[in-house]
Symmetry: C2
DNA sequence: CAGCATCCGCAATGATACTG
DNA sequence: CAGTATCATTGCGGATGCTG
C-alpha cells in the first residue's frame, strides 16, 4: 500500500478529533465555524421559527443547506425541532439552553466584527494597494 | 504573477459577497469562521511563531492552507509578518493588537466549547442512537 | 410545507515540484 | 526554511423533482 504522507496527516487529524479525546473541543469549534451556523443562531435569537421563516431570515441559504445546518445543530443539541403533524406539516426550530449559551458567544463575535470592521477594511485596502512593498 | 493565488481567493470571496450584497460585519464573521483561523489564532496566543513552528502547532494543516490562512489574516491586519532576510529565510508571525482583541473572543469560544463538549457529545450519541433504529 | 434524493459545477483543499 | 505554481481530487452547495 502506498500510504503516503497525505494519509498519515489526514489520519492524524481524524484521530485528533475522535480518538484522543483530548481535543473534542476542536471538533466543536469546527462545528461552530460552519458557514451557516452563526447565521442560523442569530436568526433564532428572538424565538422559534419555522423552516420557511428561517429561510427568509438567512439570506442566501438554500433549502438543502438550511436543513443540513439545522440537522447538525439539532444533533449537537443546540437546536430543538418541534414537528406538528397537522395536514400541512409544521416544523418549528428553537434554541435549546445550550444553544442560548452559544448564542451569547456568537453575539460577542458579532460585536467584535462590528467594532473592528473599519480597521479590517482599512487594513485590507492598504494590503492590496501596497503588496509589492516588502518589509525587510 | 505572484498574486495569482491570492487573487483567486479574493475573487471567490468577493463573488460570494457580491451576490448577496452583505454588510462588512458579516464578511468579517465569515472570515473568522474559516476553519484554520481560530486554530492559528490560538497558536499565536503565546507569542510569535515561525512558519514551521506554526505548522507543528496546528495539526493537520498543510503548508498551503497555513500560508493561505496567514495571508488572509495578514491582509485583515490581524497578524503581522516579519521576514528576516538571513541566509535561511526566517519568517515570524505574531498577532497585532486587533488580532489580540479577536483572540479574546476566540478564547471565549474555546471556553464555551470546552464547557459544553460533554453535553454536545451526549446529545450526539442520543441523536445517533435514535436514528440508528433504522439500519439496513 | 417540510425535507429527502439526485445530478452537477465549482470552489476549497491537498500533493508535488520548483524558486530564493 | 519560506513561499509559489500547477495539477488532481473532493466535498460543498445549488437546482430540481418527488414524497408524506
Amino acid at each position: 500500500m502506498t500510504l503516503t504522507a497525505d494519509q498519515k496527516r489526514r489520519r492524524a487529524q481524524q484521530d485528533y478529533n475522535g480518538g484522543l479525546g483530548l481535543c473534542p473541543a476542536r471538533q466543536l469549534l469546527e462545528t461552530i465555524s460552519s458557514k451557516w451556523v452563526t447565521l442560523v443562531m442569530l436568526a433564532l435569537a428572538d424565538g422559534s421559527l419555522r423552516h420557511s421563516e428561517l429561510r427568509r431570515h438567512v439570506a442566501g441559504a438554500s433549502q438543502k443547506m438550511l436543513t443540513s445546518t439545522l440537522r447538525s445543530l439539532e444533533r449537537d443539541g443546540l437546536v430543538s425541532r418541534t414537528v406538528t403533524s397537522s395536514v400541512p406539516v409544521r416544523t418549528d426550530y428553537q434554541l435549546t439552553p445550550v444553544g442560548h449559551s452559544l448564542l451569547d458567544v456568537v453575539y460577542r463575535l458579532k460585536g467584535w466584527a462590528e467594532d473592528n470592521m473599519d480597521d479590517v477594511a482599512h487594513a485590507r485596502m492598504a494590503y492590496d494597494r501596497g503588496r509589492l512593498t516588502r518589509v525587510e
